[in-house]
């Protein structure tokens, strides 16, 4: 009887272990993401999330973070071929979208990738990639208008857009204010869901004053 109990409890223990294996990996990955010091670290983090995602097969969050981290390598490494980085990011985003449709956070990621590609040659590319970025934010707003990252990202883009093209600090300021307000009430669906951007939004809002 006792043995049976042990076996049963071991069985449950095993399940709990399996559950927490994913959670442990996510926690470890997010920790790594916080601790990143170089583009190589960021690349390793992206690869880690991708491995978790490929192994799990049915979870979009690791693909989301894989794309997010991969995207950031493009900014951290000044020599990176941004088009190549974006190609990989889009590949990962597409995998996330298969598992999670119409998600505001994923659309936000699409905007970030499009902006990164635009910066390669803004004068020549804003018509294509600028439109792609705008469309992504429109979709993100439709999916969840209370996602603070929409306003943070839009503000960031407009802050770097010349006033003559409808950008500038004054326009960006309103968006950062909105973002900061939404961050106050925003709670991620779980500790693994995206929640980033609050400090950056506050910093950029201060820069707009």
């Amino acid at each position: 009887m006792k043995q049976l109990l042990v076996i049963i409890s071991m069985f449950f223990f095993g399940m709990v272990a399996a559950q927490s294996k994913y959670e442990g990996a996510m926690a470890k990955g997010l920790e790594q993401l916080q601790a990143v010091k170089s583009a190589d670290d960021m690349g390793a983090t992206a690869a880690f999330f991708e491995r978790v995602a490929d192994a799990e097969k049915d979870k979009w969050l690791p693909y989301y973070y894989a794309a997010y981290a991969n995207h950031l390598t493009g900014w951290m490494n000044p020599k990176a071929d941004k088009d190549k980085v974006a190609e990989k990011s889009k590949d990962l985003i597409a995998k996330a979208e298969v598992l999670e449709q119409n998600n505001s956070e994923i659309f936000c990621l699409r905007q970030m990738v499009a902006i990164q590609q635009m910066t390669v040659d803004p004068m020549a590319r804003w018509q294509t990639y600028g439109a792609e970025a705008n469309n992504a934010l429109e979709s993100a707003t439709r999916a969840d208008p209370n996602n603070p990252r929409i306003y943070y990202l839009n503000g960031q883009t407009l802050m770097n857009t010349p006033e003559a093209f409808g950008g500038g600090k004054a326009v960006a300021k309103k968006l950062f204010e909105k973002a900061v307000e939404l961050y106050k009430t925003f709670t991620p669906a779980s500790s693994f869901h995206p929640g980033w951007g609050k400090e950056d939004a506050e910093k950029l809002l201060a820069a707009c004053q």
Binding site: K88, E163, F165, K174
Partner: protein, 735 residues
Amino acid sequence: MKKLTILLIIILTAGWVNAQTRISGSVKDNRGHIMAGASIAVKGSYDGGVSDSAGYFTFKTFEKGEQIIIVANVGYKPAEQIVMIDKDIAGLVFGLKEEINELKAVTVTAGSFEAGDKKRAATVLSSLDVVTTGGANADISTVVKTLPGAQQVGEQEGLFVRGGAGYETKQFIDGTLVNNPYFSSVPDLAQRGRFSPFLFKGTVFSTGGYSALYGQALSSALILESVDIPVRSEASASLSPIFLGAGLQKVNKEKKSSWGINYGYTNLAVYFSLVPQLVDYFTVPAYHAADANFRVKTKKGGILKYYTTFSANQLGIRRPNIDDPTLKNAFGLKNTNWYQNLSWRENLGQGWKMNLGLSFSTDHNDITNQIQNQQNFPVYTGPSWIDSTNFNLITRGDLSQVKAVFDKRLSGISVLRFGGEYQYSYNKTIYNQYAAVLPDHFKAVFSEADLYITNALAAKLGVRFEHSSLINKTNLAPRLSLAYKTGKGAQMSIAFGIFYQKPENNYLFTTTNFGYAKATHYIINYIKNTSLQTFRVEAFYKKYSGLVKTFPAYTNDGTGYAKGVELYWRDKKTIQGLDYWVSYSYLDTKRDYLNYPNQLTPNFAAKHTSSLVVKRFVPSWNTGFNFTYSYATGRPYYNLVKNGSKYDIADRGTTIDYHSLGFSMNYLLSLGKAYAVVVASVTNMFNSNQVFGYNYSYDGLRKEAITPAAPRFYFIGVFLSWGVDRRQDAINNNL
């Protein structure tokens, strides 16, 4: 119980102690080059690593037993190896094969300049480039002249490419031929193109060796691809002392369809009163131009596009008569032109695509030339060589055409393409009451294959078969190009092709007993491309036969050759915010055609031509500054005089070198709800003396330089646009 606990502890600790096995190795591509950044994973687990800058990887794993190690990288096919994990594994070697994909594969580029976003890396000129090229006044052909291969010809419109005359370059919009791409010719003054650069998303300037889809262009093809659905709805207006314009472009909510209309009126009266001209305009140039378009996306991802433009213009120029300085030559022109183009691009499924083009254009000219006295009254003087220059010419040129191209995707990204075209052209002239008509049914079928043998080697094989009813002749034109990738972003290409063109109408009105003129092109080039820099060098040899001779009889006995080397360098990288390109063309060409007594360098060919285009946008001033400097060595000129049964060169020479520095600036601002661009520009800033050639009097005793109508052209204007799409406002209103 105790035993069991001990056992558990042993199993667990043993598990932990022995859990991690170290796996290491290296990753290379199929050419043996080190690959950094590849990701390595034990399939189905979280364990893995990334290859470092030396291509090495090492990681620890808890997994045991038979496992699959998978290595992946963007643009490569993943590689797998089955390993037995019972102890540390070292020295695993992975070789990844490149995936053939459109972005990475070589493109067949010999002879062609791709412009637009179609091939990211090959982008050379965009519509923005056209409008921000100093001194070009937003004229597509003027900007194309800053690319290697084209001559700086200022006395006639058209692109004179690699020793070819202007009419040997043809323009195509969405695949179909454009009959009158420029405003009607005026003696010794080049005219602008009819089409705005903003109509096009991509421009391919092919200086030779181009695809079998295009024919009847001996030298060059300018292939223009119109924009699809615009990004947003917009109303626009333009104001300048020279012209006024207004337009509306509406995009539906789903961005699936759009329509637009534009109207513009150009009148140079105010301008001429401010800036004196060297010629006397008795009818000031005035142009009405209206256009309309609609575009619809189809369900299967195709698009249907329609564009039409109508223009009416007139001008009259009076210049001294070269034979008798007491007389004047008064040239008057009225032109109306209607052009329409319908194209349909569709995915037919299972790798099939279709491109269908229909176009119709009709062009009417009423041209008079009159000998006048100093009081501007018509006079008859007696000498036939003067009086015979009095004429009235009415022309009508219609072109209707249909073209269909089918694409079938073969394995990988290889494509087989085939199709046909039919053109019906109808040309009528009434010269001093003598009427003549030239109808032509022109048919062509063509087939072409783009074969990607590997990512590094591609071939384009094509053939074209044509028949013109007017001259009742057929031809068969093979085309071949090969491209080989020599390194990252670098490739070599070679091209060979035979090109045919039927004689121009002014010769066909005399006799239709002609064959095709023929040019054989051989091209080799090397390109190195990154997203912000392009280097290109190209050498070519062309052989002409069948060129039109007008003396001693109208025949196809003309011959010629052209050879040269061209360089191009564009750089947006070295200096932040500065975009510049340099081009250089060396040309050696001779031809025996028309009434030439033997092979001569034609008067439109300069030996050395070079351009430097510099653009700088200063964000803090919201202003862009653009300079274009063009240089060409002098061109030959001849006075050919009939002497009994032959033509003699009674006089010859070389014009002075050509210099031109154009400048433009564009200042961006918001005016109320409108975005505005103020544009100011001037051509030939240094007031260089420009001579394009000489005209001779009948007796050959007087010669006069052919020069521009004014040393400089100034422009100032403001372009306003209102985004009807209130998306940005909508977001702001949510705040």
